[in-house]
């Protein structure tokens, strides 16, 4: 059964990571589409209508892939994590049930209208549909993060006689400190993904000398949004999300930073490899005091080391957690630098004729995806060895009767199918981008790119 647990974990990690490539783009784009539609509605400018229509098409492709890869996630709570579902369903069933009823119907109903109803229903209804789609997708994010926040920091529950958990207050679930700090951070990351992709498509058009009019709008809109989102990612949302880990999961915080022993005036390790034999960071480049200042606002404050916690409560893969965390932080810093420089060039009117910067922007498109994936690895590996922090260990949550052979078989099946999905997605997206906004008149059912 030990290997079944490993396959269960890998399968969930793989399917969740793959799934989240799509919603992070759609949630970010949903906000940008509302902006574009509003601008088109207020000014009556046909240019913005076409821009919005193009991004709705990109949204729809990503959404379709997000839906089909999302269904397995809800199912897998039951299929692979039956003991966890039985144990915690009395609490997280509430948030997951709400997600289906409130968010998914809102999204799917109004996406149909957004895609197929523009001519039929007029600009105002179409604008309303874009707002509803935005609300639906961000509400879905809220309810999923509420579920995850509860697993990270369980609140508002009681233990029944049979050992399972039951909810004691719905408002408690939605005022979970962890949720209030993680949601803004996650949504800022989504906007960063959407905005970086928009700017990258603009840079690609500009560098290729095609769809020039749209290139400028994409670059301008994408860049301003990306700069705002990147800044918000670091401060205040990233800072708050990091501090709460030190408050609620101190062992995890120590593992993030590679603090193996108690340190006064702890420095922040920029580069270095954790060595689990000697419990040190090899080849470390450290900035003194920064960690103490960030966590406790005092240069001399003591940061608790990992070795003060019992070994069986350490995150079970410290180096992986450490690397994921550092990749996230490193990329976040790069985002601020890149968007800062590009904004400056935009403001000076030089961006559109600066090939090297356009190249940088174009090639930056995958980076928010990597950062977001690393961020979720940070959160999920950081929660280990717990499935529900402090209450249920991951090993106790798996389905009792699903054998390792079956779990491995389905894991491989998912890997194969998702490789195919990934290739098809890239084909659809690149083809749509190449055709450009001008080539898409009214998207039509069955003939549109749905």
């Amino acid at each position: 059964m030990a290997s079944a647990l490993l396959y269960d974990r890998l399968q969930f990690a793989f399917t969740a990571t793959f799934h989240y490539l799509f919603p992070q783009l759609t949630m970010g784009l949903a906000l940008l589409i509302v902006y574009l539609k509003s601008r088109a509605l207020w000014t009556g400018d046909d240019h913005y209508r076409r821009v919005a229509r193009f991004w709705i098409k990109i949204f729809a492709i990503s959404f379709a892939f997000g839906v089909v890869t999302g269904i397995p996630l809800e199912f897998q709570f039951g299929t692979n994590w039956a003991r966890f579902s039985n144990y915690a369903g009395g609490v997280i069933g509430q948030t997951l049930g709400m997600e289906g009823l409130f968010a998914f119907f809102l999204e799917s109903s109004f996406l149909g209208i957004l895609l197929f109803g523009e001519e039929k229903l007029g600009p105002r209804v179409h604008w309303v549909a874009s707002v509803m789609l935005f609300l639906g997708s961000w509400l879905s994010g809220w309810l999923i993060i509420a579920t995850n926040a509860w697993m990270q920091h369980p609140v508002a529950y009681r233990v029944a006689e049979d050992g399972t958990l039951h909810v004691t207050s719905l408002s408690g679930l939605f005022t979970n400190d962890w949720l209030l700090r993680q949601y803004p951070h996650n949504m800022a990351a989504s906007v960063a993904t959407g905005a970086f992709v928009m700017a990258a498509v603009g840079a690609y058009y500009r560098l290729s000398g095609i769809h020039d009019l749209y290139a400028r709008t994409f670059l301008r809109t994408g860049l301003v949004a990306a700069a705002l989102a990147s800044f918000l990612l670091l401060f205040p949302t990233g800072h708050e999300a990091g501090k709460q880990v030190f408050t609620y999961q101190p062992a995890t915080g120590a593992a993030f930073e590679g603090v193996f022993h108690n340190e006064k005036g702890a420095g922040m390790v920029l580069v270095g490899q954790p060595n689990m034999e000697t419990l040190t960071i090899d080849n470390a480049i450290t900035v003194p005091w920064v960690l103490s200042i960030l966590v406790y606002q005092r240069a001399k404050a003591e940061v608790r080391g990992l070795d003060t916690f019992p070994r069986d409560t350490w995150p079970d893969n410290v180096p992986l957690l450490y690397y994921a965390y550092h990749i996230m932080i490193g990329l976040g810093t790069i985002f601020v630098a890149v968007t800062g420089v590009a904004l400056l060039w935009l403001w000076r009117g030089k961006l559109f004729d600066c090939p090297w910067l356009l190249w940088v922007l174009m090639l930056s498109a995958p980076l928010p995806y990597i950062a977001t994936t690393a961020g979720w690895m940070t959160a999920e590996l950081g929660r280990q060895p717990w499935l529900v922090y402090g209450l249920l260990r991951t090993a106790e949550g798996a389905s009792p009767l699903v054998s390792s052979g079956n779990a491995l078989f389905t894991l491989i099946g998912f890997m194969g199918l998702y490789t195919l999905l990934g290739l098809l997605f890239l084909f659809l997206i690149f083809d749509t981008i190449n055709k450009g906004p001008a080539a898409s008149p009214q998207p039509r059912p069955a003939a549109g790119d749905r």
């Binding site: 089909v68 709570f77 369903g89 799917s108 209208i113 069955a446």
Partner: protein, 349 residues
């Protein structure tokens, strides 16, 4: 409160089968009723704005099942592990086949995705029927409340049955036949010309299969799960649901003879609701029947979430459900009427 949630979950899943059922059915008859590319695009237009929303009923129903009866969710989903993974993969392939198909005008590409779409739809319809068969027959739940069902064992519905046995296969065929007729009725209602004529032809032939298989599965019931009758004996009002189903079946034949497509679609919808409703009536209070020992069965009383949790959930469910009805009615109104391809859609993509 637990009983109410049993009814709510059953209702959500029944609505799911009626709604996603017609687009599964559309997929099954798709290759036959629509021959040319223009016809195929007409058929796809009939379901494209709504199928995604239809599928949400499954996700929402599953979410509510998880909330209200976590033990059933845990036991059922892990027990039907292999079958559910198959369902997931089919749903994925079916879901992406539509946007992919319309993206390229290449005829081979389109034919390939047409077959993926039709094949996945047919298999899903069979699986839905077989799933219902499994719920009626029961599963080998152990004392802790878990099981793991093999895909098949000896094809007999005994104490250690597989997911497929003669009864669940029968139910799978019943599901496929019923959804075929249901989808054909929907298309007959939504299209004109040769597509409508072929859809009517499928519906007219298919209804005999449906009648035969419905009768067969009803007759087989006492052999497989005699306990289902006890609720009917105790509360004969439940026969009303069965009458609704049989009445709808008669209506199906009557309106098909009159070629009233809208009424036929209503009849096949009510037939599905009637059959699922009478099954739920018979199963209550069981959610998952154990074939090993009756005391291992998961029921509304031993599998439900806490009382106050269910009470709060009822509050948000009623609010959410009203919203969902409002959107659904709005969307179906927006896209009502027969599908007619506009001029610029006729040639190529």
């Amino acid at each position: 409160m637990e009983t109410l949630w049993f009814a709510i979950v059953a209702l959500m899943l029944a609505i799911y089968v009626v709604l996603d059922g017609f687009d599964f059915g559309t997929g099954i008859v798709y290759l036959f009723v629509a021959r040319t590319d223009a016809e195929r695009r007409t058929v796809l237009q009939a379901i494209e704005p709504v199928w995604d929303g239809n599928e949400v009923w499954l996700i929402a129903g599953g979410g509510l099942l998880f909330m209200a009866f976590p033990r059933v969710y845990a036991a059922g989903f892990s027990g039907f592990y292999l079958a559910l993974m198959l369902v997931l993969w089919l749903l994925i392939l079916r879901g992406i086949s539509l946007p992919l198909r319309s993206h390229l005008a290449n005829p081979l590409w389109r034919t390939f995705w047409d077959w993926v779409f039709a094949g996945a739809s047919l298999l899903l319809a069979i699986v839905l029927g077989a799933a219902l068969g499994n719920l009626i027959r029961g599963v080998p739940l152990n004392a802790e409340g878990y099981f793991f069902a093999a895909l098949w064992t000896d094809f007999l519905p005994g104490p250690a049955p597989g997911i497929l046995d003669w009864y669940t296969v029968l139910m799978g065929l019943e599901g496929a036949a019923l959804l075929t007729v249901h989808g054909a009725n929907y298309l007959a209602m939504k299209t004109e010309g040769p597509v409508r004529d072929r859809a009517r032809c499928v519906a007219a032939l298919g209804q005999w299969t449906v009648a035969a298989l419905t009768l067969a599965s009803l007759l087989a019931l006492p052999l497989v799960q005699p306990g289902l009758r006890s609720n009917y004996d105790a509360h004969p009002i439940g026969y009303g649901l069965l009458l609704l189903a049989l009445g709808s079946l008669a209506g199906l034949f009557y309106w098909r003879r009159k070629q009233r497509d809208g009424a036929s679609f209503l009849a096949s919808s009510l037939l599905i609701l009637g059959l699922l409703g009478s099954t739920a009536w018979g199963l209550y209070p069981n959610l998952l029947i154990s074939t090993v020992h009756p005391t291992h069965s998961l029921t509304v009383s031993n599998a439900a979430a806490s009382h106050e949790g269910l009470q709060w959930a009822l509050g948000w469910f009623l609010a959410g459900f009203s919203l969902v009805l409002a959107y659904s009615v709005y969307v179906y109104r927006c896209f009502r009427g027969k599908i007619v391809l506009s001029e610029d859609e006729r040639p190529g993509a």
